[in-house]
Symmetry: D2
Subunit: 328 residues, 4 copies
């Protein structure tokens, strides 16, 4: 099997996850690292055996079959579009763009593209196993969901203004999971939120603690629980309820050691943050991208799904601001 | 310690829980059973060593110190009031009344009464342990709650018309738990619901699956998850989230046996319904009533708490009907 | 159903468990309390509504149908024999006697008696559920067992000289469980032990920490793990391994509350000691005795089983002393 | 950091674990694959970007700093010795040799060598976490251990004659874990065993189900539970008991999904076999070897430890054959 050359665009937080994964993936060869910061590009290139290049250089190389877009959020759409136009397979970190109108306007140009969107939780073995068991009827007819997504610690306040706000930046993963698990589109959204973690986040016009209720046309209900700071690690759980039972996907503990004394039982903390908790999902996502790039698999997470999640995130925002449920 | 004579009013579903508990409780003596159905009264009297009587006869006996009101819901208030007027200590099953105005109107007559309302979950050892750990600061500052209350199987549809509806009949326990755990009154309620379990319930104007979001003045959030039919037993859980962690009170399994084979692990079902799951809470509640009757304890669940939960239940109903959050 | 009058012999540690259970059991009436210590007898009688009497008086009362022998170990056999000779149904605490020869000599006189021996663990709902699942084939063909019986804290050293030693006093429960679960008699015993908890126990000629390996004719293996002091509560577990899987019965936690913070998870301690851990088994055992006394059930734990466990306990003792496996 | 060239000797079962790990390890470069079977060597070389070579060619290459010995058991010692003599750092799969006398005779030639023995469980994150917590005093003074090592399914009978028998082939891992966790050498060994899984194993003179009890000079006790076929996956657990509590390291489930219906709870199977269960330990072991090869770490598992475990395995064998405890 010949290896496909790929270029990594962006050697920042997510690039440091996806770059090494691509470099170690059988079937891929990380050929170029593109980053406007020369030091970041050079360090990633050295660690992975790649070369630094500009995006234009990388796209001009006919041996390059795929591009991993891990640039800053405001560059996602432009970089992805440029790569698609150059005929490359594209993996793009979420969100496509914070501006729904811009994302909608560009959508026709992605028609037919080999394009994988970074909704990595669909590749997580635990959530995947849950989805498979739900599809196999383990709870009978699915009726409701409870999705917990609690970050361990709040981001620095200066990230807030460019984040897109809690719903577009953070809840968007849960909105995508809701769509996937429910198997039916929400028609009503209600979101309510508070600023309990850091008052500075509130002063910047955002919230840090939210509860969202989605309802589908058939009456299925889904609650999303979000906080920017759990204080106990990266709480990532889904509970599904149906006509014959419930099924859950739970947290992963750091180790299996348990101790017991007169005061009670103690056990290890849960995985602290996304690189640890979702390591397997990131690898599986890049493996899937390799198959999409090779033309042997259809994208499991794609542009249209990114649009749909963004529409829901905007509805959450509107519901919170107007203090009422929003119909879709 | 002299035993206090008590009369049981109502030998139905809840009378069959509280009557035997009172009969076996050190400090109480079940003296009379009152029920308009002679057979039911006689059977309970025989099983507990009590005598049958009318309510008037029981209240006229000066040796009777307490009355357990377990009659049908529409008789709760009248029976309780009659017993209080006769100077007896009163235990009354929830709800005080389905009509908030009637309950409010009668409230002054309960001032100073030794009156215990049947919000039994406050006496459950698991929820009590959770409350104690929250009060001890185990999660830091409490920020949000998730309360799950799923009945194993839907009631017969002909119960629905006199039930008061899902919120007053069923969610009312959760609304009381929310008030207790939050330590702060909700100021906003949003409820949304579906009829997914039995369409007959919908034809009768009620719902069977609901999600309710409460918000307090300081921004604390509480979600209540209700269904009339879980399909997997009596799901009774609370999750509490705060500034430094989370704490949960979980389900009780029928036994501790676990098996493991190539297909996976299996374990016992959870307790199926309220008499099994809450057996200890019912005993503890009657033990508390014995202390209140004796004048050595103040009621932990009282008339005012019953009113407060009823106000919230009406707000849930209104929110659902009007499709918007209701301010309190 | 007429209630059977019973007499309690011995108002000490185990009498305080069985007396109140008999007093509250539908179908039994605790009529007499017999104890050489007048205060202990009177206190138990007052608490249960019984009268004090001598054993002779109680046995002479033709209305008495059953006797609960909870006297000191050296009186078990004499008291039980006297009651059986008087035609009463007898519940007797374990062990029948510390002297195997004495117990064997008396065995013929118990032929046909309605006699229930206090191997309470066979009535524990968790171990009973395990046994039922093993019988139903959950592990396929049973091949081996691991039995854990760890006391929370060592007894006072002055109990040691009259205890019969670790194997007869403590491991005897496990030897009975092994016989029950294995469904086949051990033919070889190896026991090795240390004195790690309290050197005073060693100076008195006993041990406090032991491991015993039993082997049956078909090659099934059973390990028993004993310590006099766990430091973490009353560890009572069984693991069963077979041709198709494993099944376990585990410890019971005091409550279901779990907390999670950055340092990890914490949960409640396990039940601390036998009155708490085995409360249900003690009630079920007396309920079974009521049925045996009434003649509607055959004893599930009987004299012959007591002898068999005693034979194994002596073999353990011999193996430990001689430093070699003992054949049976 | 310059990468160290290594040669893999043996592309069989364990070579297929260690070869790819070495190939992906930062700091190592898999240069040569040595295997007498040309196809096996070529396949591994192609998959890892290495070249095929003879052992002599690989050792003659001065750029080669390390050798991974994964040949058949009877070649371990000869291959390792040859590589050590050539001045290479050596990783060697366990056991060093099935013949204790041969291993002892060769020991002086390994003095000072950079030699890592493949007792991979010491690198497992769960057992490592347990060891760290024991060293931190989580159970107080350690008093006893229970080690469970159950293979999912028995090996083919034709593997048995060259396996060295259950104790040298299989229990040897547990004997090493016992030495590590106890922190004190056993002075007495008792082993008893049966052939319950496959009678063919018995006809070949081996056993498939064993229980071993170790005792140290200070009286610490350790039980090892072994079976060749669990029927439920790869059961790998350790329980440690001490003066103040217990601590355990448990099995790893394949995913966190749990389902609940009226019949009870179900969850995923545990990891099925060693490549899955111990994947992290194998990676960590090769990472450790890289540091040893580089001279920046002392071997955590070494030749002397291999000898010590072999001595214990022979004592187990002798105890079983002679039906008595063996003193060391």
């Amino acid at each position: 099997m010949e290896r496909i050359n790929v270029a990594l665009v962006g050697a920042g937080r997510m690039g440091q996850v996806h770059g090494p994964n691509a470099a170690r993936m059988p079937g891929l060869h990380l050929r170029y690292v593109v980053d406007p910061r020369p030091d970041a590009a050079a360090a990633m290139a050295a660690a992975t055996g790649a070369e630094t290049a500009t995006l234009e250089e990388a796209l001009a190389d006919p041996s390059v079959g795929g591009v991993l877009v891990c640039s800053s959020t405001d560059q996602h759409l432009a970089n992805a579009l440029q790569a698609v136009m150059a005929g490359k397979a594209v993996f793009c970190e979420k969100p496509i763009d914070l501006d729904l109108q811009k994302a909608l306007a560009a959508q026709p140009q992605f028609a037919g593209a080999r394009f994988v969107l970074g909704f990595n939780r669909r590749y997580d073995p635990h959530f995947l196993a849950l989805k498979q068991r739900l599809d196999a009827g383990v709870v009978g007819q699915l009726e409701s969901l409870h999705i917990v997504n609690h970050d361990p610690a709040a981001p620095s306040p200066h990230f807030i203004p460019t984040s897109g706000g809690l719903f577009k930046d953070f809840s968007i993963h849960d909105l995508d999971m809701a769509r996937w698990m429910l198997g039916e589109e929400p028609v009503e959204v209600f979101a309510t939120a508070s600023c309990l973690v850091n008052p500075e986040i509130g002063r910047l016009g955002d919230v840090d603690t939210a509860r969202t209720v989605l309802k589908t046309a058939s009456g299925k209900l889904c609650v999303i629980s979000n906080t920017r700071r759990s204080g106990y690690g990266y709480d990532q759980r889904i509970e599904a309820f149906g006509s014959r039972g419930m099924a859950t996907a739970g947290n992963v503990s750091r180790d299996t050691v348990q101790a017991l004394d007169e005061r009670g039982a103690t056990a290890a903390p849960i995985a602290y943050a996304f690189p640890e908790r979702y390591a397997e999902s990131y690898r599986a996502q890049i493996a899937h991208f390799a198959e999409v790039a090779r033309g042997i698999a259809q994208p499991r997470t794609h542009y249209a799904g990114g649009i749909a999640a963004l529409v829901l995130a905007e509805a959450c925002q509107q519901s919170m601001c107007e203090g009422r449920p929003v119909q879709l």
